[in-house]
């Protein structure tokens, strides 16, 4: 969105198109974290209802969206924490290939392949909020094995601790460390090739 466009409004006065798009985004986010369509629907519904109850004025749809996503994030964290008090379902137990593959960035001796070496990124903070960058990030995230993407977002966005992620997914602490390492290696490589590299 053009930051110079300022719309004063609240959830009740947002355009239907904006609300529909936001609901889609929220569902995608909640599904990724919860792994269940029903629970994702419920979480989004409750987050939207909470936002309507506490309707505040926002300068622009971007601020409104940031606020509602924050409510949803708390909702998702609540659900995940509540689940940990329940016995783990068999379907949630770790499968042998839970960790997903190690990205092919190291050689046999554990040194970077030449093509995969981390280059310097110039002024990396400048672009993080641009539509173009976020589209590249979205594509890179989607390219991760699903479990890696899920654990990465649980950690970085929902900000769950390692133990909470272990309890939620039936993983060991080492599993989680390995998954996060692999996810970060793969995302870093993807972002370097598609965004930060000269001429990308």
């Amino acid at each position: 969105m053009d930051p110079t466009v300022r719309i004063k409004g609240n959830v009740a006065s947002a355009t239907p198109e904006f609300l529909a798009q936001m609901r889609e985004d929220m569902l995608r986010f909640a599904r990724l974290q919860l792994g269940s369509d029903d629970e994702a629907e419920d979480a989004v519904q409750e987050a939207l209802a909470g936002a309507l109850r506490n309707a505040a004025d926002f300068r622009g749809e971007a601020a409104l969206k940031t606020w509602i996503i924050a409510i949803l994030k708390n909702k998702v964290a609540d659900i995940l924490r509540k689940r940990q008090r329940l016995p783990l379902a068999a379907s949630q137990m770790a499968a042998p290939d839970q960790e997903g593959p190690l990205p092919a960035v190291f050689d046999q001796r554990g040194m970077w392949h030449d093509a995969a070496r981390p280059a310097r990124w110039s002024d990396p903070e400048a672009d993080l909020h641009t539509t173009q960058f976020l589209a590249v990030f979205d594509a890179c995230l989607n390219r991760l094995p699903p479990q890696q993407g899920r654990v990465f977002m649980m950690r970085e966005v929902v900000e769950l601790g390692t133990e909470e992620i272990c309890a939620e997914l039936g993983l060991t602490i080492n599993n989680v460390h390995v998954i996060l390492h692999r996810a970060r290696l793969a995302l870093r490589a993807c972002l370097q090739i598609n965004w930060f590299q000269e001429g990308a």
């Binding site: 749809e61 903070e125 909020h129 390692t162 989680v176 996060l180 390492h181």
Partner: protein, 63 residues
Amino acid sequence: MLNCHDATFLFSQGRERKLTFSERMKVRIHTSICSDCTNFERQLETISGAAKAFAAHKGKTDD
């Protein structure tokens, strides 16, 4: 002596737990001779910021 695979694994874990003194020494020695892993360590912070930006903003200009 750590290789780059080991060093990046420790840098990654450093975002979830406090590394031990010995681990911190090992990665410092490694980065003192490896600019690739020095870049990697910095970029972990950027990737974390990107994930947060993505969750907060994604889709709002998808049309």
